[in-house]
Symmetry: C2
Subunit: 280 residues, 2 copies
């Protein structure tokens, strides 16, 4: 595995091979490993698999956890090697944001008006800006993003389409602990008590997905009640059923839908979601 830390070096990578990019913020866990292995399979033996690790300051809001976000460079490198990475791109903040005042991507569209958007103003602008930069530098043919950040995946698909970027965006399945908790670098912020309550997110979402006999509003209410009851240490930011493409709230599951939630446990903001297909 080659490690590249400077933008100019990655720009001059030899091309001709299919290039697959897996962008991450590091603090890699088993969920990332599966994401990287998915990237490896998309690249094939002949292709080039690039993992980027960059904790992007512009996607963190004031009071969010940019400074304290976990950084585990040595473990990340081992995991990248084990998962078949060809190139690890680890630029510095100075390298990615060299200008005094940076121009970026404006992600203020319908897609970001729901779910995490209102809770995290500027977050998706920051995500799109850094992904735009990574795409410009690396020129991938394919980029892989986790479905745990489903809204992010939808926004990046929109960006690639709107800005005519020559890259295919692939979503990769969420990987879970045995008790259902979606793997996340932020899970390590949880106390033992919070950790014990956190699996209720997935349990509640599964309830929504399985309660075919109930109206959407009733399903949502049951899920909220379950979280309130089983996770008294958590505070629900949102719990909604949305159109899987547009991220707009759905009153009736008459098209491919997504049930999504964000719950704050102390300093940890956990998100999760589940795809729900309409019953035909």
């Amino acid at each position: 595995m080659t490690i590249i830390e400077h933008a100019e070096e990655i720009e001059h990578l030899s091309s001709g091979k299919t290039r697959v990019l897996v962008p991450t913020m590091g603090a890699l866990h088993h969920g990332h490993e599966r994401l990287i292995r998915h990237g490896r399979s998309l690249a094939g033996k002949a292709g080039q698999l690039i993992v980027s690790i960059f904790v992007n300051p512009t996607q963190f809001g004031p009071g969010e956890d940019f400074e304290t976000y976990p950084r585990t460079p040595a473990e990340d490198r081992s995991l990248c090697i084990a998962a078949g990475t060809d190139i690890l791109f680890q630029p510095t903040v100075e390298e990615m944001y060299s200008a005094e005042q940076d121009l970026g991507t404006n992600a203020d569209t319908k897609l970001t008006g729901t779910l995490c958007g209102p809770d995290r103003p500027g977050h998706f602008d920051g995500v799109c800006t850094v992904v735009n930069k990574l795409f410009s530098l690396i020129q991938p043919d394919i980029a892989v993003f986790g479905k745990k950040d489903y809204q992010q995946l939808a926004v990046i698909k929109q960006m690639a389409s709107n800005l005519k970027m020559p890259v295919k965006i692939i979503g990769s399945e969420t990987i879970r602990e045995k008790d259902g908790l979606a793997m996340s670098s932020r899970n390590r912020y949880l106390s033992a008590q919070q950790r014990a309550q956190a699996p209720v997110l997935y349990k509640a979402l599964k309830g929504i997905s399985e309660n075919n006999n109930l109206e959407s509003a009733a399903r949502i209410k049951a899920a909220r009640d379950m979280i309130a009851r089983e996770a008294p240490l958590g505070k629900i930011s949102y719990l909604q059923i949305v159109d899987r493409e547009t991220m707009q709230e759905l009153m009736e599951i008459d098209r491919p839908a997504l049930a999504a939630t964000a719950v704050q446990f102390g300093t940890a903001r956990l998100i999760d979601n589940i795809e729900i297909d309409p019953v035909i």
Copy 2:
């Protein structure tokens, strides 16, 4: 010359050659011709010269001249052929803005806080968004922009740098009528009387550039007085000396500077500028 009207077709252009892009809004005049010939010389015989013609709706504000902007497709094609264009890319609005609600580039930085920026809110966002799309589709190695739109050139340089785009941005000299008026597709909006007064823009800017013995403020005042006197049909939007890189106002010409002006003649908003180097 090949004419391409669909985004997918330009995406699959064979590569390997140096690609030079000259983006325009059509209504091509002799100034564009020189711009295209400049592009041809940068591409060389072996390279590929692409001219795009697209009247970009998102860079026009409400009440501006999007609908009435001159469109002269037949003449444009002849001029492109004469100037050595290999590929003419002429997409439709639907092709470039396919989505209901588009995500774009946010150009709200220091650079756009002066000169044309405050007069035309959203203008540079629209410019950067469409150029971003054109770059994604065409993947040019070099792109050429006219210096008449100096602030636009500076903003696009900033975008390419900030977003790490693998393209070199080249500025091309302003071409003028014999009486000094900068060539512009909008000159055809001028009445005979307005046309007779319009050369004062350049005359006033030259005055600023040549009056080395005066302070900047005095030079500006003299130029404003000259425009008021010689172009009573014009209304000055701005007339300023700015830093050529940052577009911030300069009180003293102690670095590479630009004197720039915008004057409204009826429906025609004319802009012009002149580079001024510090006297050593």
